[in-house]
C-alpha cells in the first residue's frame, strides 16, 4: 500500500531507527512499511498516526479498487 510515512518522518527529522524505537517495532518494519511492502496492523497504524501527527487516511493511500463505496 502506498503511503506518505517516509515523507512525514523526514519532515519531522526522525530517522527510521528513531521511529521504530518509538513505535516499539523493528527498524526493518519501518523500512518495509515505507517501501509499501508491508501493511501495518491497525494498532500500529494508529501509533504511526499519533507519532507522525497525521490522520491514518492521510498517511496511507489504498489502491483504488480497494476503496469500497457504499452510497447510503
Amino acid at each position: 500500500m502506498d503511503n506518505h510515512v517516509r515523507a512525514r518522518r523526514a519532515a519531522l527529522g526522525l530517522t527510521q531507527a528513531q521511529l521504530a524505537e518509538r513505535l516499539g517495532v523493528s527498524r526493518q518494519t519501518v523500512i518495509s512499511i515505507e517501501q509499501g511492502r508491508f501493511d501495518p496492523s491497525l494498532p500500529l497504524a494508529f501509533r504511526l498516526s499519533a507519532l507522525l501527527g497525521a490522520p491514518i487516511e492521510e498517511l496511507f493511500v489504498p489502491p483504488d479498487d480497494d476503496v469500497a463505496v457504499h452510497p447510503t
Binding site: 513505535l23 517495532v25 527498524r27 526493518q28 518494519t29
Partner: protein, 142 residues
C-alpha cells in the same frame, strides 16, 4: 512465582517419566524379567523427559532472553508477521504429514517405523523454513 514454576516443572517431570516408562515398556516389549522391563521403561521415560525438558528450556529461554521482548517479536513487527504467516500456512500441511507418517509407521514397522517420524519432522521444519523465507522475501527483501 519461581517456587510455583519449579513445583510445576517437578510434577510435570514425574508425570512424564511415569508415562514414558509405560510407553517404554509398551514399545520395547515384555521380554525379560520384571527388572529388565522396568529398566527399559525407565530409560525410555528418561529420554522422553529429556526431550520434554529441552522443549521447556527452549520455551523458557525464548520468553526470557532480552531479544524475546525486543521489537522483532513485538506485535506489528514485520518479523512477527513473517513468522505468523509461515506458521499459519505450514500448520495444516504439518498435521497432514505427521498424520500420514504416523499411519505409515504404524502399518510398516521395522526400520521404516523407526526413521519415518524423524523424516516427517524434517519435512515439516523444512516446509516452515521455506515458507518463512518466501514471506520474508515478499515483505522485506523482495
Amino acid at each position: 512465582m519461581l517456587h510455583r514454576a519449579l513445583r510445576t516443572a517437578a510434577l510435570t517431570a514425574v508425570v512424564i517419566v511415569v508415562l514414558g516408562a509405560a510407553l517404554g515398556v509398551a514399545a520395547t516389549g515384555s521380554d525379560g524379567g520384571a527388572l529388565a522391563r522396568g529398566a527399559r521403561g525407565a530409560l525410555v521415560g528418561l529420554l522422553v523427559a529429556a526431550v520434554a525438558g529441552v522443549h521447556l528450556l527452549v520455551r523458557t529461554l525464548f520468553a526470557r532472553v532480552p531479544e524475546s521482548s525486543g521489537p522483532e517479536l513485538a506485535a506489528g513487527s514485520v518479523e512477527s508477521e513473517v513468522f505468523l504467516r509461515a506458521s499459519t500456512q505450514a500448520f495444516p500441511d504439518a498435521v497432514s504429514v505427521l498424520l500420514l507418517v504416523a499411519l505409515v509407521a504404524a502399518l510398516a514397522g521395522g526400520d521404516l517405523a523407526r526413521w519415518l517420524p524423524a523424516a516427517g519432522l524434517v519435512v515439516v521444519l523444512l516446509d516452515f523454513a521455506l515458507r518463512a523465507r518466501a514471506h520474508w522475501t515478499q515483505l522485506v527483501a523482495g
